[in-house]
Point group: C2
Chain length 167, copies 2
């Protein structure tokens, strides 16, 4: 048997992301995952303390990807950022759901690159004379708006062609 897989942790994470994106959290199984990677179920426990811990890591990876997509948007006005955000959600429906499934007691924010970019856009639009609290509140409002829109789209409550997205 080939012990020492190479970088099993990364392999597991990648496969886990793929599995979640394919079928969602509910269909995700440690055993199936380990079999795919070609390793015993228990091997997973050397790198993650539990299934839940692994899913948490997958979620973090999702947030990182989202931040990447955010940084990659050329025009950093609120409208463009909003569209990027929604696009990401639609491209990674199950991963996005996992990120906001309430597993983590608190989703990162201050440390989050995405939120910083959003706040800058809000500040830019406000035009200089805006209190920090106002910027924060408007950022939250904007986030809530696009987040809700993604969720409604993912749930099939609304269709893309019937929404009028704008700030």
């Amino acid at each position: 048997m080939a012990y020492h897989h190479g970088d099993l942790k990364k392999a597991l994470l990648d496969a886990a992301v793929a599995a979640v994106e394919a079928g969602g959290v509910e269909s995700f199984s440690l055993r199936k995952l380990s079999e795919q990677v070609g390793v015993t179920p228990n091997a997973v426990y050397r790198h993650f303390s539990s299934r839940e811990d692994l899913l948490l890591a997958v979620g973090d990876l999702g947030f990182a990807q989202l931040a990447d997509a955010f940084e990659a948007t050329s025009d950093r006005d609120m409208d463009s950022l909003g569209r990027s955000y929604i696009q990401f959600g639609l491209q990674h429906p199950w991963l996005y759901r996992l990120m906001f499934s309430g597993r983590r007691t608190s989703v990162p924010r201050a440390e989050d690159r995405s939120f910083v970019i959003l706040q800058e856009a809000v500040r830019a639009r406000a035009g200089g004379e805006a209190t920090e609290r106002h910027v924060l509140q408007e950022s939250i409002n904007a986030w809530a708006y696009v987040h809700g829109m993604v969720m409604l789209l993912l749930d099939g409550v609304v269709e893309l062609d019937e929404i009028a997205f704008s700030f």
Copy 2:
């Protein structure tokens, strides 16, 4: 053994709602549920074709409760309705999550009492000369906004005292 429980279906549904509200979908177990109600696990299958089917019914019940709360709001302007909506979400965090967990291929809307009330509020604010399409779009926007806000609150991303909720 006491066959014919009386109204087992209702008893199961009630207990299921309670279980979901207590610990969320992931901790929900058919066996624990049946034990609580005092019946064999398989008895459940006389009334629901699967665990998933049962959870779907629980979700529907959640939507009905939400509509009740919506109808109970005295001032049916958008602000009051929005606050009712958010309050419901915060009072039933796990149930609310279940309702928007993507189990149902499409969440009801046209048949939904809540959405009708929302549309009336939007129409009232628009002041008469608004196309139906515009009313629909604004309703969706409003829904996305409050829905996203509830989700961010439930996830602990934002706190109640730092949001500035308004339309």
